[in-house]
Symmetry: C2
Subunit: 308 residues, 2 copies
């Protein structure tokens, strides 16, 4: 089924204990789209870049069967730029620079032929812009998944809550779940957030895995223990892309299938962190993806038969 991805397409400059990059292509929608492309080839992108954005990067997205007709290219303007430096533990980072550039006046326009997409992924963006996209859809998508961040909780909580109330799945990290709910316990946080509108909540815990909640059930998937985490940038978006891509491919939004989607998302994220930026997400084979998913199966599956 068709998937619409909305989010940033950006330049990133990244420094980790393993090295640093000049401006490389990043952005939430880039990671989401690339990751989802391993599951479906009906992906539409809505985003904005400046005149400085390289045609080769757009061609790379097209090679991954991503329809870029909704990618606005602003003449005389510059692409959104983020720069960050990771600490030694790779779990925390400092933002060195954020230049909004074309994002300052981003007015998302969903192309006509993308307005009836079945799956909608709202990557992290101003909540009001995420809402504008939902309102442009000609029919309610089968599933709307939304990412956001602490920045909007600090600066635009009312706007954010309006958008959260419109979506089916909210995907945020553990610190954000605590901030949004005011609860330290993630179980209590989930209960409160599921009262805000979403039917499902994904709490991403980075190297500590991810939790999927609905009001009755909870599922946990670990992150794969890796020898080296090279660059965590984009891992959460890659996870989300694999999650919604798998759901769009299988056309099944049951809790049981969402569990599988979480595993596929986790597998994609485990590739993402093995190289800088999007490098590892380009040109993977189906065999590589399946092998990685098998590693997750081996990692967590056990066989207990309770007598009672």
């Amino acid at each position: 089924m068709s998937l619409l991805v909305v989010g940033t397409v950006a330049f990133d400059a990244i420094e980790t204990p393993f090295g640093k990059t000049d401006k490389i292509v990043g952005g939430a929608a880039t990671y989401i789209g690339l990751s989802a492309s391993y599951f479906t080839n009906k992906i539409n992108l809505v985003s904005v870049v400046g005149e400085d954005f390289p045609q080769e990067a757009i061609d790379m997205l097209k090679n991954h069967k991503i329809n870029t007709s909704g990618l606005q290219i602003k003449k005389g303007e510059k692409t959104f730029f983020w720069s960050g430096k990771y600490h030694n533990d790779m779990n925390t980072r400092d933002t060195l620079a954020t230049e909004l550039n074309v994002l300052m006046n981003f007015n998302p326009i969903v192309p006509e032929d993308a307005k009836n997409c079945d799956f909608l992924m709202l990557g992290n963006l101003m909540p009001a812009i995420q809402r504008q996209v939902v309102e442009q859809m000609s029919k309610r998508p089968k599933l709307i998944v939304m990412d956001t961040m602490n920045f909007w909780m600090d600066s635009a909580m009312d706007e954010l809550k309006k958008t959260i109330a419109m979506v089916d799945v909210l995907a945020i990290n553990d610190a954000e779940a605590r901030q949004l709910s005011g609860e330290y316990s993630l179980v209590k946080a989930a209960q409160k957030i599921l009262e805000m509108g979403p039917k499902y909540l994904i709490i991403k815990k980075g190297e500590h895995g991810a939790l999927l909640f609905n009001k009755q059930q909870v599922f946990f998937a670990p992150a794969l223990p890796l020898e080296d985490v090279f660059d965590p940038t984009g891992a959460g978006d890659t996870f989300a892309g694999g999650f919604i891509g798998y759901l769009a491919q299988t056309e099944d939004i049951s809790f049981e299938n969402m569990k599988r989607a979480i595993i596929f998302g986790s597998a994609m994220a485990s590739f993402c962190v093995e190289k800088f930026g999007t490098e590892k997400l380009i040109g993977l084979t189906q065999e590589q993806v399946d092998e990685r998913v098998q590693e997750f199966i081996d990692l967590v599956q056990f066989d207990i038969s309770l007598v009672s």
Copy 2:
């Protein structure tokens, strides 16, 4: 099969965001023994307490089918005492007081009828004392599991490594695995530690679960997401007790069965943290344990059939 548990029996005074206790009964061997008692009733305890240790606490251990003939009671001396205060996140704590008392000159004596135990659990203690216990065994146990802590890495690394080289399973937390190996990546840390002698390594990550490694395989079990963690004291020992208790019950030390043992250990630890001290570990029913294990099954099991 029979199990010998060596470790501290102590008084603890605990402060958490939920409240504080006066001196209550604690100690590694207490938690290990209670937890293991849900799986086997052939448990021998080797430890030491002072004259101040209450007979009711010894009776409580006996009620859990723990043979306390190896528990030395030192006339005129005081029981080991530890006091600590947990921070709001419950993952970190300050030690407020450590009074070694009877531990200062502890000379462990394994009773004759416990020298041929099939399973040996070395709770956290001075590494030289752990080794003395191994040397008193009349035959090599089927499995020796050892816990330790960063204190011995700081103060007695050479002694510690001698003891580590004698055991089959080392169980330590993530920070300790990093310190012992000098590697930040837990995968690399495990590879190095498995070169030191043990065939298996368990890395305990508290609320983030536990990893089991041998040289070829890795298994991960999450901690149960709980509404409230009331008091984490003893959770690691309770985990270890459930782990070795289940192995002693099932008499199977294959990797597949160790996976199950990790789940049973995690289930026992999830009880431990729900009340202060050992309170929740006393008088659980088999139904309660099975129900909790079922929650773990529901939490992590998924069904993916890869085509390839």
